[in-house]
Symmetry: C4
Subunit: 209 residues, 4 copies
């Protein structure tokens, strides 16, 4: 029986991490491509320039929100990869599909920034976050099923990783639901959730989310 290519493919955690870091780095930097300097022709004074820059403020906020999203999921993926002894073909592909969702983020962000008040834009943005969460969850389950976690990993860690993803996605879903009132409520809620994950306050219930 011939050696199956599938048994020797996609073993390296290091190269998966390197590719992921590259994709995250490019996606994070491309987010900003949506911020354009205003055209010089219409600008004749400092005041003109300030006025021309003002409409960029909401785009900047959406950019910051997306950067936080990517940062949160980069940290999340890093936690998983740091606990892998090796990878498998299936696990590598789960992470590659996770990277698809990462590369879609600049598009979702541009759409959200252009159509701040539109539910369609918000729901597509949330779908992107959901996709990131589902695939990160799937890659963790895949790693457990393939028994490629580093030996000696405490079972609490396995649970903590899963709980974090599920709780975060529940909160993001609540945020998305708030768009029945208004997309700005949704965006505000999602940003608060993200800030909570970024600063990780050590107070009561918030630190357990």
């Amino acid at each position: 029986m011939p050696t199956h290519y599938n048994r020797i493919a996609g073993q390296s955690v290091e190269r998966l991490a390197a590719l992921s870091d590259g994709v995250f780095a490019v996606a994070m930097t491309l987010l900003v491509l949506d911020l354009h300097a205003p055209a010089a022709e219409a600008i004749h004074s400092e005041r003109d320039l300030l006025h021309a820059l003002a409409p960029l403020a909401p785009r900047l906020l959406v950019f910051l929100m997306s950067f936080m999203t990517l940062g949160i999921f980069w940290v999340g993926q890093q936690v998983q990869l740091s606990h892998l002894a090796r990878s498998t073909r299936d696990l590598t592909w789960t992470h590659l599909i996770f990277l698809v969702a990462v590369t879609l983020m600049p598009f979702s962000t541009a759409l959200m920034a252009e159509f701040l008040g539109f539910r369609v834009a918000l729901l597509l943005y949330w779908l992107n976050i959901l996709l990131l969460g589902v695939l990160l969850f799937a890659s963790w389950r895949c790693a457990i099923a393939a028994s490629v976690l580093k030996p000696g990993l405490p079972p609490e860690v396995i649970g903590a990783v899963q709980r974090r993803i599920v709780v975060a996605q529940a909160l993001y879903a609540v945020g998305a639901l708030l768009c029945v009132f208004n997309t700005y409520w949704s965006l505000g809620f999602i940003v608060l959730v993200q800030i909570n994950y970024v600063i990780a306050p050590r107070i009561g219930i918030l630190s357990r989310l």
Copy 2:
């Protein structure tokens, strides 16, 4: 006799892997640059936005197809590099020319997405895949000829790597040939081949391809 520069150049597998991960990461992320948010002027309602987004669906599919292509070849190159004890100047250049084919993928993808029904676009897209396959095959032969494979590598692995490339390229060629009927038949067939490689089903003949 002077030391030839060519004997000391291009030895590092690590840096070749790092450059390759970088090129793949940028190419994967640039694929999405072809997805543009619709212009805001013409959009006055949620329905308008949905209608404006609909034409992006085929582009999204072509994007996913290209991401799968790049993922498959990234895994394929990783398998080869992970078995190298060191590199040589010639081998490094074979991989660099392989990277040329990688960087061309965003262009081929944009062309395919813009001209879905055109055989010229499909054949150029297939030519890009063929180029990736030929160069990956050449780099493996080059590694064998230069005796830089890690010692103790079972001969079956050598065969498995070659067989995989040849079978895959044969299937892609069948896909390209289907354009005598219709480019959509070609695209559908190629996507099925790729999905087979991504999910690697463990059933009968499919798992041996």
Copy 3:
């Protein structure tokens, strides 16, 4: 009590360095995207081409200034990371927010290049540099507070890192202040400060800055 995700997240200095190198590399290369080849239609002679390229000179200078800025802060971050035994969740996020400021640099640069004579553009550019400095300082303090510096690090190094950031930011602030006269004075002063840091002359006071 469940294991907190926050205790196991963001530990890897290697991946933080890899992501940072990626973000810096993309930002440095995107700076140049602002240099466009002139449109071919209006160019009929070598002289026409030279004339069409002349307006790119100030853009090239702003590009070089921004490349120096990014280079200086890349070296600065590298010094910090090279002294870390490990990272923490908070420290990782401080560096991620530092990377936000890095990704904003291509935008600030494009704005500065387009509006060379405008104080608004200059002050936003300086704000970007200030943000880089504040976050680099914060990440160093955070590393000290979390006791994650490599053991045996001489206390003088800790002071040298802080002193460098504070002195540099003071000089940049002086440069920004010079815009009460003229933005060109500001730009000239900032470039001189940067050249001092790049070539690091070994003469008297300059070598201590």
Copy 4:
């Protein structure tokens, strides 16, 4: 006396290599951004599409020439870095300025592709190659002067690296000079020089260049 920041900055060869790989990867991939799919409006048949693609052929050739240039200099920098025991602040900055020349390559390439017959475009393109060579030479001299080469490096290697850069730059200069006749002579000559370096034929004089 306080510890000088300049003595502790820029020591890591690994991070310099990682940043360089990133910059090269982005620059190599951005070269292709200049290849645009033709606009769909004017294309109504396969023949139209073929005709619309034909003008891309010279751009593709210039792209390949620039990819070869970047590949040659990436290999050249890799040879140097692989022989460094550590880096210094000055050496790091020499390489950073070398990376400036790398990031300028997509612009020079776009200019050359747009103005194939213009000497101004050719000479700027050559200036970019010259800059790459001068800085690579300077970084090698800097490494020797700082005594950071790995111990035990045979002196012939030191000479081989320098000889290669000088000979290559002499050939590129001859190529540039040929533009007194015609820029196409120059481009043809430069491409031949590059192909010689890529395939490194093992015949007589060519293998010594």
